[in-house]
């Protein structure tokens, strides 16, 4: 097995040493949705959705009831759209549902682990349920459980597991069969800060080092910002936005500068050089005391640097104000609802 050396094992420095990394993960999209509409009687869960999701780490955002769960079930081939077609990794979800599920992993939000088996047994069984031969299934299960952070615990009954351990088992069963795409639904649910940190790292690694496309559905925007490079927002069954995260909100923004002392003088000197600045309001900036300098071109960076150097004060932080993902999300949702976001769901 190891003389396969080239295509898929990790090389010493941990990066995927194959054609998978060149050109990202290939050019074929992970998911293609064309004209998908889903209604349950009178209730329309999804309205004419047209969307292409790349093989990236994608964040899926939306209020409860926005259609995320329905979309996910359609993509897993568990339910058929009322109209339209969807394909995942090239396979049509309606005609080739089983093939889709062979190649896709799913980490549900809800509790779904049996308490009466050991983690290793259960994950091994799940691997077989995705088509792996028995021996390979056991081996993969043990390996994957180890890599998600469960050592000897993997041979213990799931009954005694903490929330964090259960989340890891859920993740393990989602990737044990080496899928090309994994759906993760609220992966950090119930975990404590360390656990969340580790889980997010794991997800990032699964994507970056192994080339497994990832679709994360989460309400915690900081998690999405940390792990994903593309974001999709749904609201009321409609697509609001689908774009790379990097582009979001970095249009013209002011410069935010933090210094340790003599703020007024700093502001004054900048002004004198032709770079208007003011003290920012703490509410808007989440409690930080930052000076807002208007951005009119890259020279302002040098001005800030030089004034701080002349004054010999500490330049504690420097960043461009960008609309955060939260601003974008709220903007999209409010735009589509024409006002208050409260009360619906």
């Amino acid at each position: 097995m190891t003389d396969r050396g080239s295509t898929s094992t990790l090389s010493l420095n941990g990066t995927l040493s194959s054609s998978l990394t060149n050109g990202a993960f290939g050019d074929a999209p992970a998911v293609e949705i064309r004209g998908v509409r889903k209604s349950f009687g009178n209730v329309v869960a999804l309205e004419r959705l047209d969307l292409t999701i790349p093989k990236a780490a994608v964040g899926l955002l939306g209020a409860n009831g926005a259609g995320k769960t329905t979309l996910l079930r359609i993509l897993l081939g568990l339910t058929d759209p009322t109209e339209g077609k969807a394909s995942v990794l090239g396979y049509d979800t309606q005609t080739d549902g089983v093939r889709v599920r062979e190649r896709v992993g799913y980490m549900p939000e809800s509790d779904c682990l049996p308490s009466g088996t050991t983690a290793a047994d259960f994950v091994g069984h799940m691997a077989e349920m995705s088509g792996l031969p028995a021996r390979a299934a056991r081996q993969r299960a043990a390996d994957v459980l180890y890599h998600v952070g469960l050592d000897e615990e993997r041979y213990r009954l799931i009954k005694g597991f903490s929330t964090g351990m259960k989340q890891r088992v859920k993740l393990a069963q989602a990737i044990v069969h080496d899928p090309g795409l994994v759906f993760l639904d609220e992966p950090t649910n119930g975990m404590d800060p360390q656990g969340r940190d580790e889980m997010l790292d794991l997800i990032k690694r699964i994507h970056k080092m192994l080339g497994i496309a990832v679709i994360v559905s989460s309400h915690i925007l900081e998690d999405i910002e940390r792990v994903c490079d593309h974001v999709v927002i749904l609201n009321n069954g409609k697509l609001m936005l689908s774009q790379p995260l990097e582009g979001i909100g970095t249009e013209q923004g002011d410069l935010l500068v933090r210094v340790d002392t003599r703020h007024d003088e700093f502001i004054q000197r900048l002004g004198a050089l032709g770079f208007p600045a003011t003290m920012g309001s703490t509410d808007e900036l989440h409690g930080r005391e930052e000076i807002v300098v208007r951005f009119d071109g890259d020279q302002v960076y040098d001005a800030v640097r030089d004034v701080a150097a002349e004054m010999e004060i500490a330049l504690r932080s420097l960043r461009k104000r960008a609309r955060s993902l939260e601003d974008v999300y709220i903007g999209e949702v409010e735009a589509s609802e024409g006002g208050a976001t409260g009360g619906r769901s």
């Binding site: 955002l61 939306g62 209020a63 409860n64 009831g65 926005a66 903490s162 929330t163 964090g164 119930g190 975990m191 404590d192 800060p193 360390q194 656990g195 969340r196 940190d197 309400h219 915690i220 925007l221 900081e222 340790d260 989440h286 409690g287 890259d298 960076y301 040098d302 800030v304 640097r305 030089d306 701080a308 150097a309 010999e312 004060i313 500490a314 330049l315 504690r316 932080s317 420097l318 960043r319 461009k320 939260e326 999300y329 709220i330 949702v333 409010e334 208050a340 976001t341 409260g342 009360g343 619906r344 769901s345």
Partner: protein, 335 residues
């Protein structure tokens, strides 16, 4: 020109202000009166010591209660909510012991994780029920105000059983607010809420913190940073830290601070920085960034602009990378 003389009092005041703040009780600085005092509290269940001699105070404003799962945080919160009695030690509310005195919890509002037990009631009925049991004079008014505060007016006539998780949380908050308590204890209040609801709830918590004493337990530290004035951290059944998390970070002086800098010529900057004694190490992080470690933050930040200027390097971004609450927390829970 008359020379202005200063009074003796003003001189003394100035001196006092410049002196180190007096910490009488962990979590309580200056002369602030704590609303709740957890007074040398321990709790054990049979042989298991869940909480061991924890001692802190909670002042008005928003305090976050943090800690790993299973390390005593929930037990502490339950004892502060009156749901559990300490095995030893005491909980003082406005200076009076709460033991056996359930009346003290009248002024409390609790938002806890357990599921609501009345799924067949509508949202409005549920809040009203609380208003009635709390013997509010103006039951209807209080109910409507509470519902409006959490922006649930349009869904208030639907049954709670049909609510999504986020809606249930909001109605729980309304019920906890209906009797206008001056203390709010909230356990994972943002659980299940979508991003817009979260932003709204964070703002609500900050607003309420201006006039009340709020204790929030949460695992999402990036959000805690936005609403908490101070933190209390429980690790392994003991109080690990209390106070402002920036100040806590400073206390880890055996840890170098990590600063990420994005510049047009990061390696030139690296060369310039490594020559400075405050710089302990430099790491290249991608094409346009370096990460520097320093054990003398002040000196480093002060030297940075001049060094950059001399090296003719334009600075695009300067950010401390381990001063977030997440970093502080991980330092605290490390063994």
């Amino acid at each position: 020109m008359k020379k202005k003389t200063r009074s003796y009092a003003s001189i003394v005041n100035e001196q006092l202000q410049q002196a180190q703040p007096v910490v009488s009780l962990p979590g309580v600085t200056g002369g602030a009166e704590p609303t709740i005092v957890v007074n040398h509290v321990s709790k054990w269940f049979g042989d298991i010591v869940a909480v061991s001699d924890v001692n802190f105070g909670v002042v008005p404003g928003v305090t976050a209660l943090l800690g790993p799962n299973g390390a005593g945080k929930s037990t502490v919160l339950k004892m502060m909510s009156g749901l559990l009695n300490p095995s030893s030690g005491d909980i003082l509310i406005h200076g009076k012991s709460a033991r056996g005195n359930l009346g003290t919890y009248r002024r409390f509002g609790l938002v806890h994780e357990s599921e609501l037990v009345y799924p067949f009631l509508t949202g409005r009925e549920f809040v009203r029920l609380n208003a009635i049991t709390q013997k509010m004079k103006d039951v209807n008014g209080a109910t409507e105000r509470a519902i409006a505060t959490v922006e649930m007016a349009s869904a208030a006539d639907r049954r709670v059983g049909g609510y999504s998780k986020g809606m249930r949380q909001r109605i729980k908050v309304a019920a906890a607010l209906v009797h206008e308590p001056d203390v709010l204890l909230m356990d994972e209040p943002l659980n299940g809420m979508d991003p817009a609801q979260r932003a709204h709830m964070i703002n609500l918590i900050r607003e309420l913190g201006k006039t009340k004493t709020i204790l929030v337990s949460s695992h999402v530290l990036a959000e805690v940073e936005r609403f908490a004035d101070s933190i209390i951290v429980i690790v392994n059944g003991k109080l690990a830290a209390a106070g402002d998390y920036h100040a806590i970070r400073e206390k880890f002086d055996d840890r170098d601070h990590s600063v990420r800098i994005r510049a047009d010529h990061p390696r030139w900057l690296a060369v310039a920085l490594i020559g400075h004694p405050a710089t302990r190490s430099i790491r290249v992080d991608g094409e346009s960034r370096i990460v520097a470690e320093t054990n003398d933050v002040r000196a480093f930040y002060r030297a940075l602009p001049a060094l950059a200027k001399r090296a003719n390097v334009r600075l695009y971004e300067v950010q401390a990378t381990d001063e977030s609450l997440q970093s502080v927390f991980s330092y605290l829970v490390e063994r």
